[in-house]
Amino acid sequence: MVKIVFVLAYLILAPFLGALLDGVDRIISARMQRRKGPSLLQPFYDLGKLFSKEMIAVNNVQLLLNLSYLVILMIAGCMLFYGADLLMVLFILSTADMFLIMAASSDSSPYANMGASREMLQMMAYEPLTLLIAVGFYLTTGSFQVSDIIRADTSAVLWMPGLLVGFMFTAAIKFRKSPFDLSTSHHAHQEMVKGLTTEMSGTTLAIMNIAEYYEMILLLGIFCLFFINSTWWSWIAAILICAVIFFMETLWDNISARVKWKTLLYSCWVVTLVAGGVNILILMLDK
């Protein structure tokens, strides 16, 4: 019963929570640049406007592919919050991303196609670590099931701090934060217009944004998994730490410039190998 409530709460609240976090992010970014910034509800105004705009579709399939991205992300999130298999959640998450890449490459804009190929490159960069995290949770708690992981006696982070660091590093790619916002950026100008979303307008873009909010909450949920154990207060600690992690992503976004794709790929793999690999090795030897 509790599991169903969690799933429903995720389905209904995640876009609202994600949009609010986006609003907070924009205000904090503005304050870091000594600006006033938009109102907290700005992402909601943006979504409302996008839905009310005239529909300009470059082809028939883009909206469908974006909807698939949204639905598959929702499925992945529901599985995480239901307490299902973490490995499956992560696989479905990458499947969702493939639909976004297909949506971007379905149009003829060279900017969107470049964005799509960079998105694929980003997947190559973060995917190894994502898999290692699932393995790490298995070695630590003896199960891939999220419902077992959160019932462990001690927080998983005690056994896998390296993997947490690695996940924080690669989460910047998923959150589309600088220096890793190669495929598309929340900021206005970049070298290839809007990258992935160049030919998305109105409803299509709104759906993509909502999907990103679902993804944001899903990723923060995975961060929570590192900290939650059988005690009740670990839930509060996990949410607080998530807030800190989100603030750090914003800070990172404001103080760094976008890197080249090779730097992205190599730095992600080095972090994966050093932080993740060593952590897994110790787990394998010790557990």
């Binding site: 000594r34 409302g48 705009k53 206005a188 109105g202």
Partner: protein, 145 residues
């Protein structure tokens, strides 16, 4: 109904400007003027823009570009001509290659004169364009589109 003026995204195009007005447009984004407090984002993508902000008069090379950008923007949309060259052609009006102001090519909703137009004037012009944007949106939903 959610008003489009709450989240106007802006596209800036330099038709043939001397860059004087362009620098003033960028000034609007700086901490001192900060147009993001109105929810305005300076986007580079016509597909996602609501306001087309053009500096400089139209010449024979930029005419087709202006038309194309305008046609790629989804309704409702407004056009703001910034600087005297964009309004009328300015000192370049009689040049052999200049067609004149932006309104010789596409319909313009707000004129912001000045050489260069001051950031305060540009912000005033954009805010005025927002009410026109709302009126256009209301007319659009009345037509049932």
């Amino acid at each position: 109904m959610n008003k489009v003026s709450k989240s106007p995204w802006l596209l800036h195009y330099d038709a043939s400007s001397c860059n004087g007005c362009d620098i003033e447009v960028l000034d609007c984004l700086t901490p001192k003027y900060d147009i993001e407090r109105f929810g305005i984002i300076n986007t580079g993508d016509p597909f996602q823009a609501d306001i087309l902000l053009i500096t400089g008069g139209v010449n024979s090379q930029t005419e087709s570009v202006v038309k194309q950008i305008y046609s790629q923007m989804p309704e409702p949309k407004v056009v703001v001509a910034v600087g005297i060259c964009a309004c009328t052609g300015g000192v370049f009006k009689e040049c052999y290659n200049i067609k004149g102001g932006i309104d010789t090519v596409i319909p313009v909703d707000v004129y912001v004169p000045g050489c260069a137009a001051r950031p305060e004037a540009i912000i005033d012009g954009v805010v005025k364009a927002l009410s026109i944007l709302d009126a256009k949106q209301a007319a659009m939903s009345k037509d049932g589109r």
